[in-house]
């Protein structure tokens, strides 16, 4: 075993934190209050290279390994970037662009990846439906082959980046009689007749990310937009799970470090009963709980990334363990941080209530904690 990050990785993390504090964090509060997507920050993520870290250079990426890639998410969280922007980045780069990279034809890769990596295009992925959440086999959206086209009908829900996406990876049944084996994946472009997005859903947290329904009403797309072969969609969806449970988790890990630093600074300055509240053991106890969560969650998330770097396919047990831990165990530290700030913690200005709201997504998005428990209990 060796838990060391390389010197380059450590420098890279510091550089992202510096960049994010300067270019993105000053814009976070305003956009969170407005529940508005921060297009400028997203574009800057592209300019800095974050959107395409793990993609080959020929498409405009950096060719980074998975550990380095997920480290970017931790760094953004540690800098104080909101969960909405990091979620949008995750859905864009890992759920959409990575699926195209892994399964699309070379022509489709060349058509979409450079724009997705630079931030010119925004991507999303549509899997969940109103009546098909973790039970994806029960999806109702269909894709019927008609000559050189597929015709999509149905709807998707809870789609991150849905209202703003230029490119969508959509899962639909090409064989409705089959369960998992009937699912296929397609690329659908914004503006395709029959394809529309609903208004952004009003959410508790991650408010700068735009989440909506997607509708397909006789939406006709070229047959070449099929990813891989018919019936391979479920496997592709499973492959995104490891990103879901590493890259999309590390912003929560970084947020814990942000909370720790912010709480410590506040506790040293805030005086009650004639001394800084940091002198009280109850305050130290809260700081300790945040630190312990940070240390624990970090190892779990990077383990998945390292396994992925080793080419080990579909580490469902370890991925579910990481997701369950970050999801369920992050609630306590987020609550502690908000309470430590007292009344200020309940006010938007001090960020703790936003992080608390953002953290609430961790046990829900990408498969609820109950689904993770179901996966783990079946694998042991």
């Amino acid at each position: 075993m060796d838990f060391a990050f390389t010197r380059e990785q450590q420098m890279f993390k510091k550089e992202i934190i510096r960049f994010a504090k300067k270019e993105i964090v000053p814009r976070v509060q305003e956009h969170d209050l407005k529940e508005a997507f921060d297009f400028e920050s997203f574009r800057k993520l592209g300019e800095f290279g974050i959107l395409g870290l793990h993609f080959p250079e020929e498409y405009g990426g950096s060719g980074a390994d998975v550990v380095t890639t997920v480290m970017a998410g931790e760094a953004l969280g540690e800098a104080g970037v909101d969960g909405g922007l990091t979620l949008a980045y995750g859905a864009h780069s890992f759920l959409c662009a990575d699926t195209i990279f892994c399964h699309a034809s070379d022509a489709l890769r060349k058509r979409y990846l450079p724009g997705l990596i630079s931030g010119k295009y925004i991507g999303c992925m549509g899997l969940t439906e109103p009546d098909a959440g973790s039970d994806v086999a029960s999806m109702k959206t269909t894709a019927e082959k008609k000559g050189d086209t597929y015709v999509l009908n149905g709807s998707k829900i809870f789609i991150t980046n849905g209202p703003i996406a230029d490119v969508a990876v959509i899962y639909a049944k090409t064989d409705p009689e089959q369960a998992h084996g009937g699912i296929s994946a397609f690329i659908v472009e914004k503006g395709t007749p029959g394809f529309s997005a609903g208004p952004p859903l009003i959410k508790m947290g991650v408010r700068t990310s735009q989440t909506s329904e997607l509708f397909f009403d006789n939406c006709e797309i070229p047959a070449e937009n099929l990813l891989g072969a018919e019936g391979e969609g479920f496997t592709m969806a499973l492959q995104t799970v490891e990103w879901d449970r590493s890259a999309l988790l590390t912003p929560f890990v970084g947020a814990a470090k942000y909370m720790l630093n912010a709480c410590a600074d506040y506790a040293k300055k805030r005086e009650q009963f004639g001394r800084p509240i940091g002198k009280f053991q109850a305050t130290k106890h809260k700081l300790a709980n945040i630190r312990i969560f940070y240390e624990a969650a970090q190892s779990l998330a990077y383990r998945i990334a390292w396994y992925k770097d080793q080419g080990r396919p579909l580490n469902h047990l370890e991925a579910a363990v990481a997701k369950l831990f970050v999801g369920d165990w992050s609630m306590g530290p987020a609550n502690d941080a908000m309470v430590l700030f007292g009344g200020y913690g309940y006010c938007h200005e001090y960020n703790m209530e936003r992080i608390f709201r953002d953290s609430r997504l961790a046990p829900i998005g990408g498969g609820t904690s109950d689904i993770q428990k179901m996966i783990i209990s079946k694998l042991i």
Binding site: M1, D2, F3, A4, F5, V67, L260, C263, A264, A267, K268, G278, Q281, T283, K284, H285, K286, L287, A288, N289, I290, R291, I292, E295, A296, S299, L300, Y302, R303, W306, Y307, E318, A320, V321, L324, F325, D328, D370, Q372, K373, M374, I375, I376, S377, K378, I380
Partner: protein, 378 residues
């Protein structure tokens, strides 16, 4: 980066498990040994001496990774017998490590070599009634008296005290920290009867009193200049407790998991019920998280010990507190059979609390982690 143990390490872990299990039913090691010499523990020490176990972390061992390999090996032994583990570790990694770290060559030859050969048993006496969070000066005093030192003081919770050949007593001599090696039967040394404890019943834990106990000056060990001896000893204790927590957690989890797969209710194994399956999922999540934290702590102690302090404390809190939760949930899954004395989960549950109390307690650990975050403690 690498999240796997090596093949050599896995082989070592299997060897340790095989050798200790070959001694017979490990449940016997959890019973109080009526013999004055502690033959049960000595037998385990002799057996472990046939493997590299006792030397891990104390002497260079090719193919292994020092403290990291040791943590994995500790988990294995603690999972088989918590009591034997605690006694062995107190002898090797507290007494033995103190001698190995700070003793001179004569002291190492006299005390450490027999330990590593499985032919001797040691103990460390650190805790005192007045010790508190800030590690106030030890009250145990050694006074020079010609070529001898007269040691006076009282120590509590000394593991192996009643069966040890040698006890390293932490105290102060001429204003500096020191360890006084007191031998079994030395005049002035009195050892109380072993305490009654809910767990670790096969490990004798006693209070000792030293009343002008005379030892040769050659049996005084002086820590290296700059070492905060009580703090260093607490760190070593914490390492041992991490290993214990991993071992008992793993045993409790596996016992509950195996039962849930084999015990049927309503026509199906009980693991098929979400109340049981989900509980096991939470237990495994805590176990794997604890393992990674403990392994990373051990790795940091090996590679950059100056950076390990807060990580060690974080691991101490998480591993020991999750151990109690895992063992408690295991007992619930096992139903009535988990409440019967001798069940592996019941044994683990009785041992679990000790980890939160011994070494640096989890409350004090949290205070220290908080102090570090605030910059109050470097």
């Amino acid at each position: 980066m690498n999240y796997d143990f090596t093949e050599a390490e896995h082989a070592l872990f299997a060897d340790i498990a095989g050798q200790v299990n070959a001694l017979g039913d490990p449940a016997a090691l959890e019973q109080r040994d009526p013999s004055e010499k502690g033959w049960q523990i000595r037998r385990v020490m002799e057996t472990l001496a046939q493997t590299p176990y006792l030397k891990l972390g104390l002497q260079p061992a090719e193919d292994y990774n020092g403290q990291l390999t040791l943590m994995g090996a500790m988990e294995v032994l603690a999972g088989i017998s918590p009591s034997a583990y605690l006694a062995v570790e107190s002898a090797a990694r507290l007494f033995g490590r103190a001698v190995g770290s700070w003793g001179n060559s004569a002291q190492k030859e006299k005390y450490l070599d027999p330990i590593l050969a499985g032919q001797g048993l040691g103990a460390l006496a650190l805790s005192e009634g007045a010790m508190n969070i800030e590690n106030e000066p030890l009250a145990t005093i050694g006074e020079k008296h010609g070529d001898s030192v007269l040691v006076t003081g009282t120590k509590q919770y000394v593991i192996n005290a009643s069966i040890a050949d040698w006890i390293a007593v932490a105290g102060v001599c001429e204003g500096a920290s020191a360890l006084f090696i007191v031998e079994s039967g030395d005049p002035g040394l009195s050892v109380d009867a072993p305490l009654q404890t809910p767990g670790y019943q096969g490990t004798p834990i006693s209070a000792i009193t030293l009343d002008r106990c005379e030892i040769p000056a050659g049996q005084v060990i002086s820590p290296a200049t700059g070492d905060d001896m009580p703090a260093v000893l607490r760190t070593w204790e914490n390492q041992i407790l991490l290993g214990a927590s991993l071992g008992i957690s793993k045993t409790a989890f596996e016992t509950a998991r195996d039962y849930a797969k084999s015990h049927r209710s309503g026509g199906k194994p009980v693991i098929a019920y979400q109340e049981v399956g989900f509980k096991l999922a939470e237990m495994l999540t805590m176990l794997q998280t604890a393992q990674l934290l403990a392994y990373r702590t051990a790795w940091t102690l090996e590679t950059s010990p100056d950076e390990a302090y807060e990580l060690m404390l974080s691991a101490k809190v998480f591993c020991t507190e999750s151990a109690e939760q895992i063992c408690s949930e295991a007992m619930k899954i096992l139903g009535g059979s988990g409440y019967i004395s001798g069940n592996r989960a019941e044994l683990a549950y009785r041992c679990a609390k000790y980890g939160q109390i011994a070494g640096i307690s989890t409350e004090i650990a949290r205070v220290k982690i908080g102090d570090a975050a605030l910059g109050y403690r470097k």
